[in-house]
Symmetry: C2
Subunit: 246 residues, 2 copies
């Protein structure tokens, strides 16, 4: 049975990717003809959608991810609700909503998620989308529609907090990775440099990264050993540790 869209609730997703020391967010193109101002508009926004009447928010989020990247089983975390009555106030945004949904839109509350994907796994699908999508480096994101800039900022804050206690950053790396890639990733996310020897010591001490019998190929320096994250070991070893109090 076909379900109707609920015009009050939407979902928006900050999809993070990591490539060669840079943190990127996947943005989609928004193109439409603003019939009031008789102008064609083309800009970027976060991927998102209204939610169907009978659909859960998580389902809507996965639906968007699937449609955009072709992938299932992606890391997804709900982090906040953006609900200012002013957020759908700009004329251009209202015109776009009207043009794309055909529904008369008033206030929309959006539930924000962030998602972590391995940078290049989606790129095959991305190339063939009708709605074009672009990986945009986090520092190069300009003014976006609605409150999408706030959503990204706040999402990144949440991600930063989260990686302090859980090894989810690995979702951004390929299955096999070098310790240098791992360190680069943490340095970008946390925005500070780490001592290479101490970093490696810590990784080894943690006990759930296992070295493979494989090394990098075709780099013009000493090739690095590849590692993988051992999820089963992680779950076993993981012990709660309170930073504020004993």
């Amino acid at each position: 049975m076909k379900s109707k869209l609920n015009p009050h609730i939407s979902v928006d997703i900050v999809i993070f990717g990591f490539d060669a020391k840079s943190l990127k967010v996947l943005l989609v193109e928004r193109t439409f003809h603003d019939s009031v101002r008789r102008k064609s508009i083309k800009d970027l926004k976060l991927p998102g959608s209204l939610v169907f009447e009978r659909e859960t928010l998580d389902h809507a989020a996965y639906r968007i991810l699937k449609q955009l990247t072709g992938l299932d089983q992606i890391y997804l975390d709900q982090f906040a609700v953006f609900d200012s009555p002013e957020r759908t106030k700009r004329k251009m945004d209202r015109a776009w909503l009207q043009a794309t949904t055909g529904i008369k839109i008033g206030r929309i509350i959006t539930v924000a998620y962030y998602s972590l994907i391995q940078f290049d796994r989606a790129n095959g699908q991305l190339a063939h989308l009708k709605q074009k999508a672009h990986w945009t480096e986090i520092g190069d994101i300009h003014k976006l529609p609605f409150d999408h800039n706030d959503i990204i900022d706040y999402g990144l804050e949440h991600l930063r907090e989260k990686i302090r206690s859980e090894p989810i950053a690995l979702e951004l790396l390929p299955k096999k990775f070098t310790l240098r890639q791992l360190q680069d990733l943490y340095e970008v996310l946390l925005n500070y440099d780490m001592d290479n020897r101490n970093f490696r010591k810590k990784i080894h001490r943690l006990g759930y990264f296992t070295a493979l019998n494989e090394i990098e190929k075709s780099v013009n320096h000493k090739p690095a050993r590849l590692y993988k994250f051992d999820k089963a070991k992680y779950r076993k070893i993981r012990k709660e540790s309170v930073s504020f109090l004993p």
Copy 2:
């Protein structure tokens, strides 16, 4: 200008209190006449409300807190959205919604908050409410309407996580407290016992708890010194510390 209620979005709040080694949640009575089944219903639920068309979610949450406890400036944290289309499915709950709002209700998405209040500060106001409210020990909470049990469980999980990195648990204690009260609080929240000497050592090392020149009165044992939390010192001293990685 009077604003209408938005019948799609609500806010529910898990209000925590702590008293004499026990963690409590503030629940309100729900009484109504179920005209379909010709029965009077009286049970407990989380405090909550639909949101006005022009109101932010945070505002709705503070409105509920104020009306219930008479207090402003209460610690409040949004932690999740509960959106299962099934959550408003039970007949009795639908009858109650119909009876209290007068609006025809379909699916309601609720945004959940938890709040920390100093146990007895609200009790003056609570005694005079039309809608009766009860502090209920966390272990004694039985089946509640909608998905309110899930909301409480998940809220407590979030609170547990949060106190690992921020000293918000203090919101549950009076301004002046003994180290024993503080330890009891952490033991209840984290659900394990701590070594008293090590606990005190840690508190002193943290450097933002200051001993007052005051002691407990009229206890039939050696009276304990009172302490206060020094917010300014806390902000100064607080240094980021990553538990998962360097």
